[in-house]
């Protein structure tokens, strides 16, 4: 889409706000509406927009396929790892209260933030991977 100057300029202007909004949704998921799943999708939508305007090759330069694969795995590991950490600290699986036994509600707060980050990472990476797989069909 080399000719579409308006699209190129507008999408470039929008991109940082899309990603920033994704991070807002991510880190307000504990008390407000939002959370890792929604944030991941919004974050990935930024990459999809970039890919639609500037082409798949440009996305793959930023989000290398292997890096995306590692992010998919790392998100799940972060989530499950949090659960294992709570087990090691004497609680049940994903009982975040075990992080701060004196103030379990604080532990619950931190725990939710961490696992939502894991969700966000995996969802965003999976969405980007799905997009680039379908867009790259027959080319890879």
């Amino acid at each position: 889409m080399t000719g579409h100057t308006i699209l190129r300029v507008v999408s470039k202007l929008l991109l940082p706000y899309v990603l920033l909004f994704a991070l807002y949704v991510q880190f307000h998921g504990d008390y407000g509406p939002g959370g890792g799943f929604q944030a991941g999708v919004i974050f990935a939508a930024g990459f999809v927009l970039y890919g639609l305007i500037y082409g798949l090759a440009a996305v793959r330069r930023v989000a290398k396929p292997r890096a995306i694969e590692i992010l998919i795995a790392a998100g799940v590991l972060l989530y499950a790892g949090t659960g294992i950490a709570t087990m090691l600290m004497g609680g049940n699986f994903l009982d975040y209260g075990a992080f701060t036994p004196a103030h379990p509600e604080k532990g619950q707060h931190y725990g939710i933030l961490v696992i939502e980050l894991g969700v966000g990472m995996t969802v965003a990476a999976v969405m980007i991977a799905v997009y680039s797989t379908f867009a790259g069909r027959g080319r890879a």
Partner: protein
């Protein structure tokens, strides 16, 4: 750490899957995944021991008490299911390195390990959880990963087979979700035990009826009960040998477990089998499935496909046992879950050995194979005897309980039909034996050599187990009887 066994059962394979993606190296990943599978099996052995010694185990996820939180509840039935699913998972993956070397590109084998572990996680999760929505989530985890596993079969036909399974599996899962949704609407709870206490609700009968209908059809699709078995033969025939052995031995069995759990623990035997007479609906389907699928199996030339049709028939037996809704009938159904998992797993692994050497499982190519691959074909013979139900094999124990259950009810015709259906199994097992031992070797068979030990040992481990559990039944039929009695008494 001992009280943390229930989550470990799920968390170990779940965490190992992304680690496989990070490791990437083919050899390291395979070794790691095999070790993880055996560790998972170890956990399930410990769980079964604890359940048999001291009754049901309850675990609160995240420390949230039921019915608000998700609860893992393990009694004799699901401990038994966990045991054989994780055991088969470990043995089949030990068999995998050589077998899939030819069938799955080396660059994708680390992904195979990750997806295999996820599938195992899903199947174990379905069995372990005491929460209805959690059942659906794990159902999707196992189903999505099994579509991917089937599609990894190198041949083009694997893709439409996987897609057909995806469509049918998604319809089944959606029906199950609708059923769960309706029940949630009626009771406001998702915890199985809590729901069982609140059902049935007067005045809300119609919603409950619709929920039962959706659940029964959805689960029947998932377990490939005749006539909803359309997706199964192609999926099993064109998947890589390892995947077929794993899924045939575990996936449909776990669906049978869901049926048992929903009908007996959640709806209760009075409602499902006396008010609704579900048994009368399941019995003819089961018998039809046994006969139609066995007859179709006789005419297959692709032996993996033949075994797939035989699996549909065997699901018929399990449902037959359930439809009696008596302690003996349920024992028969549950012990056949286990015995058939061993037998079919072993037979499909023998076919994996054949596939490795012949690059085909067509009956014509297997002519005379008994001479060049004696151990593989001997495994086929012993496994086949188990499928028929010859004494001193695990299959005999199942058939014995089926016939006993039918006679207890005074249904002599059903007992005769079960015996007659064994003759059909003789027909399709014998076709392969005759071709392999009494015909001049085909060109491919003459060039074949015996399968490597790394594949023969796991195959014979399962085949040996079918003989072992045909002779010593305390750990199979004994546990199944305990599970059946617990089911009939409601949740333990």
């Amino acid at each position: 750490m001992e009280s943390q066994l229930p989550p470990l059962q799920i968390v170990i394979p779940l965490v190992a899957a992304p680690i496989c993606v990070l490791l990437r190296n083919r050899v390291v990943t395979l070794g790691f995944a095999i070790a993880v599978c055996w560790a998972t099996f170890g956990v399930s052995v410990a769980l079964l021991d604890r359940v048999l010694a001291s009754g049901a185990i309850v675990y609160e996820m995240g420390g949230w008490a039921a019915p608000w939180g998700i609860e893992y509840r393990i009694d004799a039935l699901n401990a038994f299911v966990l045991l054989f699913v994780s055991g088969i998972g470990a043995i089949v993956l030990t068999f995998a390195p050589r077998s899939m070397g030819d069938e799955i590109p080396a660059s994708r084998q680390y992904l195979f390990c990750a997806v295999y572990l996820l599938c195992l996680t899903g199947l174990l999760g379905i069995a372990i959880t005491g929460d209805l929505f959690n059942v659906f989530v794990f159902l999707e985890v196992s189903a999505l990963s099994s579509y991917a596993l089937i599609a990894m079969g190198g041949r083009r036909k694997a893709l439409p087979a996987a897609f057909q399974y995806l469509v049918m599996g998604t319809i089944g899962a959606t029906f199950i979700l609708i059923g769960i949704g309706l029940m949630y609407m009626m009771t406001g709870t998702l915890n199985m035990e809590d729901m069982a206490a609140r059902l049935p609700i007067d005045g809300g009968v119609r919603t409950t009826l619709v929920a039962v209908a959706f659940l029964t059809v959805g689960i029947a699709l998932k377990m490939a009960l005749f006539p909803l078995h359309g997706w199964l033969p192609n999926a099993y025939a064109y998947a890589p040998s390892v995947v077929t052995a794993f899924l045939a031995a575990t996936a449909t069995k776990v669906s049978v477990y869901i049926l048992l759990r929903f009908m007996f623990s959640v709806f209760g035997i009075e409602f499902a089998f006396e008010d609704l007479a579900l048994g009368r609906a399941l019995l003819p389907l089961a018998l039809l499935g046994i006969f139609v699928a066995s007859i179709v199996a006789i005419f297959q030339t692709n032996i993996k496909r033949m075994l797939a049709y035989s699996s549909v028939a065997q699901i018929g037996y399990m449902v037959l046992g359930i439809s009696f809704a008596t302690a003996t009938g349920l024992t028969a159904g549950i012990v056949h879950l286990f015995n058939h998992a061993l037998i079919k797993g072993g037979l499909f692994m023998a076919m994996g050995c054949v596939m490795l050497r012949l690059r085909s499982v067509d009956i014509e190519d297997m002519a005379g194979l008994g001479r060049t691959m004696p151990w593989t074909m001997a495994a086929w013979v012993v496994g086949g005897l188990g499928l028929i139900g010859v004494p001193a094999t695990a299959g005999f124990i199942s058939k014995w309980y089926f016939i006993q259950a039918a006679l207890e009810q005074g249904w002599i015709i059903v007992a005769v039909l079960v015996l007659m259906s064994s003759l059909l199994a003789v027909a399709y097992v014998w076709r392969v034996v005759e071709t392999a031992y009494f015909r001049e070797p085909s060109e491919r068979a003459r060039e074949a050599s015996e399968a490597p030990l790394s594949m023969l040992i796991p195959t014979w481990a399962l085949i040996g187990a079918t003989v072992f559990f045909g002779l010593f039944t305390t750990r199979s039929a004994g546990v199944a009887r305990q599970a059946a009695e617990a089911l009939l008494g409601g949740l333990p």
